[in-house]
Structure formats: structure tokens, C-alpha cells
Amino acid sequence: MTFARRAFVVVWKDLLVERRSKETLNALFFFGLLLLFVFQFALGPDRERLAGTLPGLLWLGFILSGLLGLGRTFVVERENDCWEGLLLAPGDKSAIYVGKLAGNLLLMLVIETILLVLFGFFFNLDLTNVLPALAVVIALGTVALAAVGTLFAAMTAQVRARELLFPVLLLPVEAPVLLATVKATEAVLLGETLGSVAHWLKLLAAADVVYVAVGVLTFDFVMEG
């Protein structure tokens, strides 16, 4: 199928560029590490007190890193002056959206794994039992983040103050996702089953479907020029 092939070649190209330039991943890893330090310094060394806010801190970490990483979705096009090339490519532009979304999901997966490991290390957490359930929550929340983030990154790619406009647009839209993921993560970390937070998971799943659908359907309009 041409659509899948075109989406895949976008992922392939982005992975290749990232592998050779190594720009994004290194910097984001250090950013994650620094975030942890910042949280500790800002909230004090009292580990017990911090443990209560752990789900919130974790998702703050994901979202802040996500803002940086997702905001850079089309940076490689901008730096290489290839944005027009994307606009001129014949065929369904949504394939580009799907390709960029897949790339962003991979990126977020790596960032989140790193942050989770760092959190486990710094807060002395044993996540082995809750990991599968936690992974489900994180996966659902990340799709919602990346789906809208990829779309908005395309919209702000050619705007002058994009570094400001991107988070300003993304954060309010992601408010329900933040509420849902933090509540669900809270429950999961306490050892509760996924069934107990089924309503939150359904909300996240609904958000995922809506955001990806809107992204696929409206991307052509964003990439018109």
C-alpha cells in the first residue's frame, strides 16, 4: 500500500537523520536528568513528601520533555530547507502525519523509559510489579500527547514565535489527558488494578481515537502551504 510505504519512508528518513546527527536524543536525555534535579531542589529532599506527588512529577517530566521533543517534529525540514519539498509532494499528506507521529511515539517511548529508570533510581522505587499496568497508562497518554503535538508542530512550523505558540496551544488541549494519566498512574503505583481506573483508561482511549482521527483528516489542510 502506497500510504504505508510513504509513511514508513518518513520514519526511515527521520531515524537515519537522527542516527547521524544525534541531535535530539542526547539533549533530551540530559534534559530529563536535569528535570529530576530541578524537581528535587524545588520540592525539598523529604522523600516521603515527594512520594505523594510522584505520579504528578512523572507526568510533568513526560510533558515537559514532550513539549521540547514534539516541538522539534519538523526541525529537520526547517534546517535543511525541505519544508516546501513536503508541501509539493503529491499524494495524501496524511501519510506524512502518520510517519511523523510514529517517529514521535518512538522518541517519546525512549524519553519515558529513561525518565522512568531515573525516577526509579532517585526515588528508590520498585516498579517490577506495576510495570505492565503502568506501561498501558503511559502508552495511552503518550499517543494522545503525540497525536496533537505532531499536528500542532506542523501548524506552528512556519510561524515566527513557534517556541511560544506550540506549548500555549498544546497544554490546554492536553489538560484532560494530564488529569486522566496522573489519576490512573496514582492508582497503578498503589498497586490497584487497571479495572479500578477503567473510566480514566476509556477516556484516554477515546482521546487517542479522536486526536489521531482529527490529525489524519485535517493534516492535508495544514500542509497546503
Binding site: 499536528l151 488541549v173 484532560p176
Partner: protein, 215 residues
Amino acid sequence: MSSLLGGVTLAGLVAGLVLGFGIAPREATQGNVQRIMYLHVPSVWVAYLAFAVVLVASIVYLVRRAESADRLAHASAEVGVLFTGLTIATGSIWGKPTWGTWWTWDARLTTVSILFVMYLGYLLLRGMIEDRERGARFAAVLGIVAAFNIPLVHFSVYWWRTLHQPPSLMKPGPGTMPGVIVTALLVNFAAFTLLYAYFVTRRARVLRLEAEAEA
């Protein structure tokens, strides 16, 4: 035409104010400040109406590329932000004497605040893109995303609140609602809706004149 609408709107607003702040009974526990509900609740209704119009106009614009649809979306978003601002302000004024705090994480107030910021972002986006056609297109996409987000916001905030306490502290009042209160509310609903229509038509007209001057 618009002056007729303006006249009817004015009449409706006056009637609504008289009913709400004059004729309707004084609430027992909260006192007169509770009357602000007659402004607060219709404001929310109008805000939701405005954003629904933004959704429809945005879709119409993307499909038909009619400039008038774009202007309608723009005007409706502006008026919607105005009324969400009004909702937040009236909610805050209600809260201060009643519960001693300017802000409360009441479900409606929280939801409306998120909507306020979302659609402010919509207006910000429009302001930051110089190319008129691109601005209209992007705003339409954002208008669609924001509208589909509204139910998600509503449910997530509602569940967030109902874990420990009742979702909205700003209900009309304990017990049943006597007829006068219902009437007052309905009149204000109607008056505010007319006010919305008045503002939107005037604003859309200004946008059209601006566009014509440029071409």
C-alpha cells in the same frame, strides 16, 4: 436589521436583570450574591453555543473555503472567549463572599477556565499568522480540535471533582426551584443568546469590511 436585534437584546437584558436581581426571591443561605447565578449560568451556555458555532463554521470553511464561514468562526470565538471570561469573573465574584475564596476548583469553573485558555490560544494563533488564507485554515483545524476536546475536558474534570466532593458548588440552591427562578433563568438565557447573536453579527460585519478594504 442589526439595530432591531440590538433593541430586542437590550429589552431582553433589562427584563432578565429585573427578574433576577429584583423579582426573584432572595436565597436563604447565600444571600443576594447568589443572584449572580442569573448571569453566571447563561454565560456558560452562551460560551458553549459560541464554540459549537466555531466548530460548524470551521468545518464549513475547510470544505467550501467560504470567507464568510471563516469570519463567523473568528467572531464567534472572540465572543465565546468574552463569555467564558464573564463566566470565570462571575464565578469568582460568587465565590468570594460565599466561601471566602476568589478561586475554587469547582468543576464548571475549572472546565470553563480550560476552555478559556484553549480559545485564547485560537485567537493568538490567528493573530500570529500574517497570511490571511493560512491563518483561516489553521484556525479552522484548531477550532475542530478544541471543539472535540470539550467533552473530554468536561468528563475528566467532572470525575476529578466527584472523587471527594460534589462537582459543582455553584448550583442554583438547595431544594426545588420555584417558578420565578426558572423564569428568570430562562429569560436571561434568551437575553444572553440574543446578545451573543448581536455581538457576532456586528463583529463579523467589521471583519468583512476590513477584508474588503484590503483587497
